[in-house]
Subunit: 248 residues, 2 copies
């Protein structure tokens, strides 16, 4: 089975509407698939319906139908779907719900072994990683089964990555400081994915660690004990666990 | 026994050195106490000694001795000390260590029932609250016993509080957005404590909910389902769970 994973830093990019910056990318990714399964669990329960409706209206523009994973007739049964999209919101709330409904391993299996396409944005990209330990979100709820994510890739994404502002008088940690703290406790490489950027991962990645960094603003790659590597433009990259090799 | 709690937003304030902005406040708070117990657990284990040494050098300037809670002869036995200071760093790491050494309830008891003075800064202020659920920190390690803090006050502090920047093009959540997310899942009021500010809490708070907001930049108070209240200047406040009353 082919694997296909699209991980977007953020649904909104400054100056454009919901997912608009990724319209062509998403169309190419979904190809002819007429229906996707949407997971609104990063939102508060009271907003699952409205969030799903917003996503439905967006995808309907391209002739793609959307089912909410919480909706009657679906109710967390994912096997019938060819593509899943996990939207942004609060990553702790998202993980909590995925744990409650025992979905982490089911989604992992569907994507890595059964050819289900995976699309994530923001919290939905973070939760696709080994753990959620590189989220920016506030820990508003305790996930009782740990911080492990869906673990589609043995890497960490930091979504909405933002470079340190040298003119700031704020003394709290910069994003780079926080990722360095992560590396005091963990060895997994971190991809600081700037808003406007995405990672596209397919079978080639699992064979040769080659993935595509797409979109407009690039990413910064952090390895424990090394200086970060800034890749400002879209390009193919080979991401070895302790270094990056470009493929022009 | 008198209770006395000093909760500082951040050890560093732009333009001044470690704890310098709070020198008079801390001297008045500690009065004649010749020795404090310092908790460096928000730092990585490899830095506990150097962190404690930095704090020791600072307090020695005022003739105050510092013992590290991890040091030989102390080793997490807190009963002999009249004052405890929990420093800043990563709140998840701090909570993890406090859980490992079973210190949460011991510190709670020492401060609320035995007259031990409590001083916290940043992560050390956050962990003094009901939970750590209003931290800004990255969840670099999983605290296996939940997010409950020392619970000295039935409130939440968000340290390093920063107002939304209206000129920012970043689409990720503002601090206010994050606190609103917290209130989708929790009812506890949140005090967004700006850098340069502190809360001073003593017996009067437990009788009449009166506390002192001190320092230079004030705080913003958030209640679920209400507009936040900005208190820009130092003043006495009476903080009722669903509202604030000033005491000029």
């Amino acid at each position: 089975m082919e694997k296909a994973i699209l991980l977007i830093s953020s649904s909104y990019v400054s100056g454009s509407g919901y997912l608009d910056a990724f319209e062509e990318t998403i169309k190419n990714f979904l190809k002819n698939i007429p229906q996707i399964l949407f997971v609104p669990y990063a939102a508060d329960k009271t907003n699952w319906d409205s969030y799903t409706e917003k996503v439905r209206q967006h995808f309907n523009l391209f002739g793609i139908d959307v089912r909410g994973i919480h909706e009657p007739g679906v109710e967390n049964e994912i096997d019938d779907f060819k593509a899943i999209f996990i939207g942004g919101g609060n990553t702790f709330r998202l993980l909590y719900q995925l744990q409650q409904f025992d979905l982490l391993s089911k989604i992992n299996d569907a994507v890595l072994n059964k050819g289900m396409l995976y699309m994530g944005s923001s919290a939905g990209s973070n939760v696709a990683c080994k753990t959620i330990c590189t989220t920016n979100d506030m820990p508003i709820i305790y996930p009782p089964k740990g911080f492990d994510g869906i673990n589609l890739i043995p890497l960490q994404i930091n979504p909405h990555y933002i470079d340190p502002d040298k003119n700031s008088t704020q003394m709290g940690e910069t994003r780079d400081d926080r990722i360095m703290e992560f590396h005091e406790a963990n060895n997994t490489p971190v991809i600081g994915l700037r808003e406007g950027s995405f990672l596209s991962i397919d079978d080639e990645y699992y064979r040769s660690q080659k993935m595509f960094l797409g979109g407009t603003n690039g990413a910064k790659f952090f390895f424990p004990g090394k200086d970060p590597v800034d890749i400002p433009n879209a390009r193919e990259i080979v991401f070895i666990s302790d270094g990056i090799f470009y493929v022009e």
